[in-house]
């Protein structure tokens, strides 16, 4: 399995999903060798990554990071001390080819039944490894370039994705939403795509927590956004919604947790909307802080413009927080006890927030019913779907 990021070294949902899937597969008795572009301290499974010694031998190493674009990669390169710079490629394209070469090399001695790769950066490695071992290739898609760029894709990345989809014997999409993107915008045949929704390792909220939330009285209710501050995540829509809520209920506070290139623009916008005393920018939060924010929030809003899945929705639910989800998301397909709205309909989004804040029976029901999904969507269970894709491919 060619991975990309893996906890504790991860930026977004992909690392979490990858770990969940690996653990689920292992739990179902599947042997997994994971190849990562960086060192990992995990004890989950056998992990192969380029060691110094190996790099010496190959004289290349990658500094791949998830969510890279050419621009941000160059920024990273600039951060590397001058004398080390020659170890890394000069641009993203070269870095990937280095990663690919090493990954394939490192796995030559293995004898896999299936090669499984996650998102575009690993597709070429997957393709070559599958060809080398003459086994089926599974391309897992967690987020497409179209999701990340609001349909203004980097041509190089888009082509990489297409190459991977075409080379794969089967594609696993994390939602029907993503499956439709692949069919409509990548021209992939639908028979080739299996949908396996992400799982969750989160626990349902305790009875005590739910009781506490039911009985507490707050002067300043809190509405939470958690995600990178980029167009894709609907950060602007969140502020528009906040402004409408503010007009009816000025005592409501809004927290935007996460960082991203839109930070300054969003601070500006929040001031323009008169929300300077109501919106708090929390910056990038660690898992402890995130957990605290989820618990404190009276309502979690995920207004993404295009969200292949949206694991944050499940995280919020596991903290007993009602969620409002963009209809343009995979999570909205599987979570029953929530509000769903189109990302552009910020007036309706605001109305849902206000209704949840006004109607305690509704909030209580959303808090206590929504976690039922966590028992259904375990990684063990979702991994069994992935496993049956493997079985299918091996036997046909």
């Amino acid at each position: 399995m060619f991975g990309w990021e893996y906890p504790p070294l991860h930026l977004g949902g992909l690392g979490v999903a990858c770990q969940g899937l690996v653990r689920g597969l292992l739990g179902n008795g599947v042997k997994v060798t994971l190849v990562l572009p960086h060192e990992s301290e995990t004890s989950d499974t056998e992990v192969r990554f380029p060691t110094d010694e190996f790099v010496q031998k190959l004289r290349v190493c990658s500094m791949l990071q998830p969510y890279s674009t050419f621009e941000s990669f160059e920024a990273d390169i600039r951060k590397v001390p001058k004398n080390k710079k020659d170890v890394y490629g000069d641009n993203l394209g070269e870095a990937i080819s280095n990663y690919t070469e090493m990954s394939v090399k490192m796995t030559e001695d293995l004898n896999p039944d299936v090669v499984h790769c996650h998102d575009w950066m690993t597709y070429e490695a997957g393709r070559r490894a599958a060809a080398h071992h003459q086994v089926p290739l599974v391309a897992h898609i967690h987020a497409t370039e179209l999701d990340r760029t609001n349909h203004a894709p980097n041509e190089y990345i888009y082509q990489r994705e297409r190459m991977g989809f075409e080379a794969a014997n089967r594609i696993i999409a994390v939602s029907n939403y993503t499956k439709n993107v692949l069919i409509e915008h990548y021209g992939i045949a639908q028979e080739k795509i299996s949908v396996v929704h992400n799982g969750s390792a989160d626990m349902a909220p305790s009875h005590e927590l739910l009781e506490f939330k039911r009985t507490q009285k707050k002067q300043h209710p809190l509405v939470l956004f958690l995600g990178r501050l980029v167009t894709q995540k609907g950060a602007v829509q969140f502020l528009e919604m906040a402004s409408i809520v503010h007009q009816t209920k000025p005592e409501v506070n809004f927290v935007m947790a996460g960082d991203g290139h839109m930070f300054e623009e969003l601070v500006d916008l929040s001031c323009k909307l008169g929300l300077q005393d109501s919106v708090i920018f929390a910056g990038k939060v660690g898992s402890m802080e995130a957990s605290q924010l989820y618990t404190q929030a009276d309502c979690f809003v995920m207004p993404s413009i295009s969200e292949p899945f949206g694991l944050v929705a499940l995280e919020a639910i596991s903290h007993g927080t009602p969620v409002i989800l963009s209809r343009q998301s995979g999570a909205a397909e599987v979570i029953e006890d929530c509000f769903t709205v189109d990302f552009w309909d910020t007036a309706k989004m605001a109305d849902c927030v206000l209704t949840i804040l006004r109607e305690e029976p509704l909030a209580h029901q959303l808090r206590s019913y929504a976690p039922r999904i966590l028992n259904k969507l375990t990684w063990q269970h979702q991994a069994s779907h992935v496993q049956s894709v493997y079985t299918d491919l091996i036997h046909c």
Binding site: T248, E336, D337, C338, F339, T340, A347, K348, D351, C352, L354, T355, R358, E359, P361, L362, H364, Q365, L366, S368, Y369
Partner: protein, 413 residues
């Protein structure tokens, strides 16, 4: 002796709510209901079901002397007829003119009042009885409660109201192996004096009935038509009118009660399933084989109450969902909150004497609003989703809670 057949059809349309917003609450004359959507749905069902089905019924009633049918038309359905379908109302009046159609009494607003507020319950039944008299020139003598919600007390109250018959679900647990095709009677007991007094005060009919017969839905044979008719995975598919008649004849008892939604014809089962042809062929087959289709009152007229078994129902039953209880409308937090909040306003709303306000409040009592808030995803969720005009139970509650909030603000103004 061959059993007789008793057809009864429920005809009902709720007033669905508009996409209300919190910003509208308390801003004066807010209309809660989605007139466009209600009109559209009414016309769609009228074209697919009411008009063609009524035409077919008229043809069968005119051609077959031993063919009778019965309906319960909810008051809110009749109101929508006036708004969106005078042609539909007229076609029902034509059926009434044959003298072979019985109209049953029910709560005007198709409400859950029977299990919440006795006074409102009696008032709604009275309003419905008057409406049927006015539109069809006959006084109902048989009662059927919203979605066949039934318990011993409801039966006794119906008797005190003056009805000599009541319709109920033939639930296995209550039947205990007995045949639903025989009329039953409720256990005899007296209501508390205070409750009897309320019924007396708002009685829809001149005097209480001595006895009341309980006619039970034969759910197996009813659902063969209503739910399974077009189900290709069903062992009985395709259902043939002769085979179905065999089943009816073999089921014994005095009358096979086939109770179902009228929308079965043309709406739940589309015309291309052959449901109309199936229905059309029944009376001739029945005539040939000596089977009569009668109304509930005809069964009750021939009823020997001394031989009747007791149908003993302590906890309410209904014809809804697998559970056949009240869980389609009550039980989760949002349903209970909505139900409690709306009935809490009863006294205040009535005290205003404001007809428009009372009317808006009563339209919010319609059981469908609570049905749409049901979250039983695991069993009958798909059925609830099929019937719901909203995208989720929470959307149903969002709209309802805004209507409630506005109603409250109008009361405090």
């Amino acid at each position: 002796m061959n059993p007789r057949i008793c057809f009864y059809f429920q005809v009902h349309q709720p007033y669905r709510l508009r996409d209300l917003r919190i910003t509208e609450v308390g801003h004066g004359d807010v209309d809660y209901f989605d007139n466009t959507k209600n009109g559209e749905i009414f016309r769609k069902v009228a074209e697919k079901c009411y008009l063609p089905a009524n035409a077919l019924m008229l043809e069968m009633l005119e051609n077959h002397p031993d063919f009778h049918i019965s309906y319960s038309l909810s008051g809110v359905f009749l109101d929508q007829c006036k708004e969106y379908g005078p042609d539909v109302l007229e076609s029902f009046q034509k059926l009434a003119a044959t003298g072979k159609v019985e109209f049953l009494a029910e709560t005007y607003y198709h409400s859950l009042a029977s299990v919440v507020s006795l006074e409102e319950y009696c008032e709604q039944v009275t309003k419905h009885v008057r409406a049927i008299e006015e539109l069809f020139g006959m006084t109902p003598t048989v009662f059927r409660n919203t979605e066949l919600i039934y318990n011993n007390e409801i039966a006794q109250i119906a008797r005190l109201m003056g009805f000599n018959g009541i319709i109920s679900e033939g639930a296995d647990a209550m039947l205990q192996g007995r045949n639903p095709n025989d009329p039953f009677r409720p256990p005899t007991f007296r209501l508390p004096a205070s409750r009897e007094k309320i019924v007396r005060k708002h009685r829809p009919l001149p005097k209480r009935a001595r006895d009341i017969a309980v006619l039970l839905k034969n759910y197996k044979l009813s659902d063969d038509v209503a739910f399974r008719f077009s189900d290709k995975s069903w062992v009985g598919y395709p259902l043939d009118a002769h085979t179905f008649t065999d089943w009816l004849m073999n089921s014994g008892g005095q009358s096979v009660n086939l109770f179902m939604d009228y929308e079965t014809f043309g709406e739940h089962q589309w015309e291309d399933t052959g449901i109309f042809d199936f229905l059309r062929s029944l009376p001739a087959i029945w005539q040939e084989r000596g089977i009569k289709a009668v109304t509930p009152s005809q069964i009750i007229a021939d009823w020997n109450k001394d031989h009747a078994h007791v149908y003993d129902v302590h906890d309410s039953i209904s014809w809804a969902d697998m559970e056949r209880d009240l869980s389609a409308w009550t039980g989760n937090h949002i349903q209970d909150a909505a139900l409690q909040s709306i009935y809490t306003l009863e006294h205040q709303v009535k005290m205003t004497g404001n007809e428009k306000l009372i009317e808006a409040w009563r339209k919010l009592l319609t059981s469908d609003h609570f049905y749409y808030m049901c979250t039983k995803y695991w069993s009958d969720g798909d059925v609830h989703k099929y019937f719901s005009p909203y995208e989720s139970p929470y959307e149903a509650y969002r709209r309802y809670s805004h209507a409630l909030a506005d109603l409250r603000s109008r009361l405090s103004a």
